[in-house]
């Protein structure tokens, strides 16, 4: 089961479809389930056209009235949980952003082969000059460290040189996003929660004894929002700093309050 949340993605969908079609995986074993958020562009017609031409099993659902897909993906937990009602006995469930535009053909096969509770490739983005940056620097975390510029045990990590970048084997980390495969039993047992649903899903899964893995040697590419003039996906801090969301939300995404400041809670 491939779970997709999609709103105003017309720009990236053609490349996304191309990448998905090139996957070396039996098409008949895949079922695409779309949660479509009302869009001002051609998102819906592109999805429908793609499925008319392809042989995949698919279902498209329009978001409920009370729960709207947000561009920032920070508060989409209920929609993620809705996929449980649409689940049909598949062995694995893949959550993938529909603005992933490039993947090695073996991506899905490799994710299945490693046979982990939750597992993800490393998502990057490329700018027009060809420079590569780690994409999901917010949800990808290791021992409470975000995959952004940090100094840790004498080493410097930054978004272009993320944690475990050079590992050739699966690495266990805290949380993953963008594109990740979940075993069916984990998917059914663990709930998504707001804010930042994927982060909370991984944290909850770990608290239940499941493990989260990433494959640094498997690189996929997300569309580069800075190149397409789209609004950036602001982190939770952005909303809290502007008083749009209460500060308590920060606790849910790994922060603790020290004095007047919220700081990320690292662990060993």
């Amino acid at each position: 089961m491939i779970c997709l949340l999609s709103k105003n993605e017309a720009k990236s969908l053609p490349q996304f479809f191309k990448a998905m079609e090139q996957l070396d995986y039996p098409k008949e074993k895949l079922r695409w389930v779309w949660m479509y958020g009302r869009s001002v562009d051609d998102t819906l017609s592109l999805i429908q056209e793609f499925h008319k031409k392809s042989s995949y099993k698919y279902e498209i659902y329009e978001e409920p009235v009370f729960e709207r897909l947000l561009a920032s993906s920070l508060y989409n937990a209920r929609l993620c949980n809705e996929f449980k009602n649409l689940y049909k006995e598949e062995e694995f469930v893949l959550f993938i952003d529909s603005d992933v535009i490039e993947m090695p053909p073996e991506t899905l096969k490799e994710l299945v082969k490693v046979d982990k509770d939750i597992v993800a490739p490393y998502p990057y983005r490329k700018d027009s000059a060809g420079s590569e940056f780690f994409y999901d620097t917010y949800v990808f975390r290791f021992h409470g460290w975000k995959f952004e510029r940090v100094e840790y045990q004498g080493k410097v990590f930054d978004y272009s040189n993320p944690i475990f970048k050079d590992e050739k084997k699966p690495v266990e980390i805290d949380s993953v996003g963008t594109c990740f495969l979940i075993k069916a039993n984990v998917f059914l047992e663990v709930d998504w929660d707001n804010p930042v649903p994927h982060l909370q899903f991984c944290n909850k899964a770990r608290s239940k004894g499941f493990k989260v893995w990433a494959l640094p040697y498997l690189k996929i590419y997300h569309i580069d929002a800075t190149e397409t003039n789209e609004s950036p996906h602001f982190p939770l801090e952005w909303y809290v700093m502007r008083g749009i969301l209460p500060g308590e939300e920060m606790e849910k995404v790994g922060y603790e309050k020290k004095g007047k400041q919220w700081v990320l809670k690292h662990w060993d």
Binding site: Q48, K57, Y58, V65, L79
Partner: protein
């Protein structure tokens, strides 16, 4: 083009079982999309204009189908005091120099009358503040040009819903990423139908044996959106090419030829040299009293062919009314006029000689008077073709009634909108829209 109106008591075609369930639901206080209260902001429903005509038929039509609706009118009624017009509340607005069409009053009406949806029906570019002031806003406006600048499109983007009366408009907006619903206007075929031409002409003291070219159009702008210059030039070139027709042709024009807001049409006709072929309808009738539907029906029935080489049209109600009377039309091949003539299947479409940028910096057409003259020549000389077009026009118009517009297009749209308004909706789960 008239102000005669019938407002019936609420009559519905719903099956009794469904009606009973709805009544039971509303007694229980449960959600029902038909409880949606609408504020319609436009001209008053009794105003004799395109917007008045649409307002009249749409508001009355919805009211008769059980939807509570209020008219907020920026034209046709002065404050203070509201008017109960045959069961419809018509609310005046307070106009100021920075709010010339009373949008602030409309927002106040929306709030005080506890409306759920505000519909703006006029030129969308004048409605910048409407979607800002009214939480659930829908724009129902003609989009009659092409390649609008972003400045205007941004106004439409602010609305939650956009409806347009032509497929041309829908396609044009889609190019710029604005989703809209096709919501056509219509014609009342009980009012507009073919009747005896000789008797009709008698009522307007027109000669029974003449070939009559009819024009019904406003004269409200200096730009001459209705293409008065092209209309007159086409007539001139037609008569030059067909000298025998000079003694046989009359042009009957229903407009206010000396409206100060528009062009001086009597002068223009003189300049072009066609004034001696023109019969102007009585100015007092056209500009002050207006004609009721029954008289307009007789008027259209006088015509052999309807001519309107407009630069653009959002829908072109007079063409549809003429068609409903079995009169074929000669229209410009641009904007909604293409659809009015069913893509050339039931009338003549005149290719524009050029396209220009209008004062709004969007593209409009200039009709080609030479091709217009050719079409008039064909209408005059080829009776078989004219009659074929007349027959097709009539059949085409009968498929475009107000009832069809409301039942097939407006009611499903309102139901869809209500589903999106939390107060009225019952849908809290995802809805399957496609799959295999």
């Amino acid at each position: 083009m008239s102000k005669e109106q019938k407002v019936e008591t609420r009559i519905t075609n719903q099956p009794i079982s469904e009606l009973k369930r709805e009544i039971a639901d509303s007694v229980k206080g449960e959600k029902n999309w038909k409880n949606m209260k609408i504020l319609w902001h436009s001209v008053a429903p009794f105003v004799n204009s395109g917007y008045g005509n649409v307002t009249r038929h749409m508001t009355v039509g919805l009211s008769n189908r059980g939807i509570p609706i209020f008219c907020s009118a920026y034209w046709g009624i002065q404050p203070p005091g509201l008017l109960n017009w045959k069961g419809l509340y018509v609310l005046p607005v307070r106009k100021t120099s920075d709010d010339p069409i009373g949008l602030k009053s409309a927002a106040e009406h929306y709030k005080r009358f506890k409306c759920d949806l505000g519909i703006f029906h006029a030129d969308f570019w004048a409605s910048q503040n409407f979607p800002k002031l009214i939480p659930n806003s829908m724009c129902y406006s003609p989009i009659d040009m092409e390649n609008y600048p972003e400045k205007w499109l941004r106004i439409l983007r602010a609305y939650k819903w956009v409806a347009v009366p032509s497929l041309h408009a829908q396609a044009e907006l889609k190019k710029f990423g604005v989703n809209s619903t096709f919501l056509p206007h219509g014609v009342d075929i009980k009012d507009y139908y073919p009747s005896n031409q000789e008797q009709s002409r008698k009522a307007f003291t027109l000669e029974k044996d003449k070939f009559i070219i009819g024009i019904v159009a406003g004269n409200n702008d200096e730009e001459t959106r209705k293409g008065w210059d092209a209309n007159f030039l086409a007539i001139k070139y037609f008569l030059e090419a067909n000298p025998d027709a000079k003694s046989d042709v009359q042009v009957f024009i229903h407009t206010d030829p000396t409206n100060e807001k528009g062009r001086n049409l009597t002068e223009l006709a003189n300049q072009i040299g066609v004034s001696k072929y023109i019969i102007w309808n009585d100015t007092y009738t056209t500009s002050v009293l207006a004609l009721p539907d029954a008289a307009m029906n007789k008027l259209y029935n006088c015509f052999d062919v309807f001519l309107l080489l407009s630069r653009r049209e959002g829908f072109c109600l007079p063409a549809l009314e003429a068609q409903a009377c079995g009169v074929p039309c000669i229209l410009t091949e641009f904007s909604a006029m293409i659809e009015r003539n069913d893509y050339g299947k039931c009338g003549w479409l005149i290719k524009p000689s050029t396209k220009i940028y209008s004062p709004l910096n969007a593209v409009t057409a200039i009709s080609d008077p030479f091709k217009g003259a050719d079409a008039l020549g064909e209408a005059y000389n080829n009776e078989a073709k004219r009659k074929m077009f007349a027959k097709r026009s009539l059949a085409y118009a009968r498929r475009q009634t107000w009832d069809i517009a409301i039942d097939k297009h407006f009611m499903p749209l309102l139901k869809e909108i209500a589903e999106e308004i939390p107060k009225l909706t019952t849908r809290t789960e995802p809805k399957k829209i496609a799959g295999n």
